[in-house]
């Protein structure tokens, strides 16, 4: 394990210990090591163009390779999970008054189906009902988390879904269920806001590429990333996560 790996292990241990509000100190982004910074250049492209994960604008944007970690087993009954996805490549662009985040990661199986839309007529007026086809399957997903309130505070929120002093906002995309916004102020407090947002994804040659349209976020905003691998029974806090990275 290299030095950085060791540091992250220490951070992980700290995080998983009882400390309720583990935080990293952002200080100045300039003072941060390069690998914790995220460059977000301005792009003249429209949202429509940038939402395409294969758009040339993304190909010419350098990627930041961000290490992923498995959350420790949350419940004694959880089967163990290996580190199948060790990093996510992140590209960020500012355009059209939004922040576009392009995530790509290798995943040997696309755990995804097209779920039927629930018809408008109530079920009692229809002879045929929609089917459940896989009560045991979980779908691939990804999310970006950032502080709900304007950043600039000295301390970033807890990585474990924020904390009481540092509520967080999540932009969550699920391969089968689409994009939804969530908020939390600590582990176990996550709730859906009921709002959606624009997101688009493609899966090709063993790689997911997903673009999420986030609101404009000021420089020095910390972002953290999470990936759920459906084939590893990921859902809830059973997932891959990154530490905080700061927008430049």
């Amino acid at each position: 394990m290299n030095q950085r790996g060791q540091l992250l292990t220490v951070l992980l241990l700290l995080m998983t210990s009882a400390a309720p509000a583990f935080s990293q100190q952002p200080a100045h982004t300039a003072a941060l090591p390069q690998h914790l910074r995220l460059r977000a250049n301005f792009s003249p492209q429209s949202a429509e163009v940038l939402l395409d994960p294969a758009a040339p604008a993304w190909q010419s944007t350098p990627a930041q390779r961000i290490a992923l970690h498995r959350t420790p087993p949350l419940y004694d009954t959880d089967p163990p999970a290996s580190l199948e996805i060790s990093f996510v490549e992140v590209r960020t662009l500012r355009a059209a008054g939004k922040l576009f985040v392009h995530l790509s990661w290798r995943d040997a199986s696309a755990d995804y189906v097209e779920l039927p839309a629930v018809p408008d007529t109530p079920p009692e007026q229809r002879f045929l009902k929609e089917h459940t086809l896989g009560p045991e399957r979980f779908f691939d997903a990804a999310a970006v988390m950032f502080p709900k309130d304007a950043p600039g505070g000295v301390v970033s929120p807890s990585l474990q879904m924020g904390d009481a002093q540092g509520p967080v906002s999540m932009y969550y995309w699920n391969a089968a269920r689409g994009a939804m916004r969530m908020e939390a102020a600590g582990r176990g407090t996550t709730r859906r806001t009921g709002d959606s947002f624009s997101a688009r994804a493609v899966y090709a040659s063993g790689t997911w590429q997903v673009v999420l349209e986030l609101p404009e976020l000021p420089p020095a905003t910390p972002l953290a990333f999470a990936i759920w691998n459906g084939s590893q029974l990921d859902r809830d806090g059973r997932k891959y996560f990154s530490v905080w990275h700061w927008l430049e």
Partner: protein, 335 residues
């Protein structure tokens, strides 16, 4: 633990395996999108695979105060629902008989009446199952969202559909596999013990429709209720797999006297017409005591004496089988 607890007793000696209860439940509660494969009430042949297949070997429950790991059944374990190709065969006139599609490979009670051998004789009986509305529900403890709750006033276990995120830890944790995932809503669902009916003074639909009249419903801690008498006074009903540690509130009068030619008058203990081991597997070692009690009652009745237990188990009318207190009365029952 709740203040009061609804309970159901099912007398397995009377079950016909007719599935009327299953259909009553399905028409009432699970005829919606995403619910086709679920039977909150199911009736399975025992010995047999059960529904979902091998559910009794899928983990879950408690051991030494710890939740035990469990497996999520697949759609195939439940039995993939099928449709019939009426369109092509009847209306478009292909001339072939109507066929199910996809070709059914498994299903609820797939091994109906197969049973097993006891010596040279085949034996089987039916086991109707609903959620046990357990006193220590493993499902509730396993939910990280606290979406599952046990009603204080009557012990019914429910899933808050707003809080549920479809994580399915509850399904793995339930040793009876009585929670189902609805892929269309993305949430888990389970038997609600017909609480909207009970609140109107009506008994559960599965009980109301049962032609075998084998279901008894009431408050377990209500001394007047038939379930209290059968479980706690006469002690002739037992929970399924008591070792799973959840303390079910559905109880079974074990099948104790299936008739067989040439065995008239012989008790099951002296001439077991179904292997006692199997009953012990399902209901624990106490089942032997229960059978002894029931055999004694039978002898008493055969000698022309009156058996309160058997009179109650006959369950002549609804007033005998059910005691559904109004909500206001619930609080007045002394615990």
């Amino acid at each position: 633990m709740s203040r009061h607890q609804y309970a159901m007793v099912m007398d397995l000696n009377k079950c016909l395996g007719c599935q009327t209860c299953t259909i009553a439940c399905k028409k009432l509660w699970t005829d919606r999108d995403g619910t086709d494969y679920m039977y909150w009430n199911n009736v399975e042949t025992r010995p047999g695979l059960g529904y979902p297949r091998q559910w009794d070997r899928n983990g879950g429950g408690w051991k030494d105060g710890e939740l035990q790991p469990g497996r999520l059944p697949t759609l195939d374990d439940y039995g993939a629902p099928w449709e019939y190709d009426y369109e092509q065969r009847l209306y478009e006139g292909s001339g072939k008989p109507v066929m199910p599609s996809p070709d059914p490979q498994s299903g609820c009670n797939w091994d109906e009446d197969v049973g097993a051998l006891n010596g040279d004789d085949n034996f089987y009986f039916y086991l109707p199952r609903i959620c046990n509305h357990c006193t220590y529900p493993a499902c509730l403890a396993a939910c990280p969202r606290q979406a599952i709750y046990k009603r204080e006033e009557d012990g019914i276990v429910l899933i808050d559909q707003e809080r549920c995120q479809g994580y399915r830890y509850c399904i793995a944790a339930c040793p009876y596999k009585k929670i189902y995932f609805n892929e269309i809503t993305g949430k888990s669902e389970k038997c609600i013990f017909c609480y909207p009916r009970l609140e109107k003074g009506e008994v559960n639909a599965c009980a109301a429709q049962c032609p075998g009249r084998l279901r008894f419903v009431g408050i377990l801690d209500d001394p007047e209720s038939p379930v209290h008498k059968l479980v706690l006074v006469y002690r002739v009903a037992l929970p399924l797999f008591p070792e799973k540690g959840t303390q079910p509130n559905v109880f079974y009068v074990p099948p104790f006297n299936p008739p067989r030619r040439g065995n008239y008058g012989k008790s099951i203990l002296e001439d077991p017409r179904l292997p006692l081991d199997y009953l012990v597997y399902l209901f624990g070692p106490e089942v032997k005591d229960v059978i002894r009690r029931l055999e004694a009652e039978l002898v008493r009745a055969q000698n022309g004496e009156r058996s309160e237990v058997l009179q109650l188990l006959i369950g002549r009318d609804a007033a005998t089988r059910y005691r559904i207190p109004a909500r206001e009365q619930l609080v007045q029952i002394k615990t």
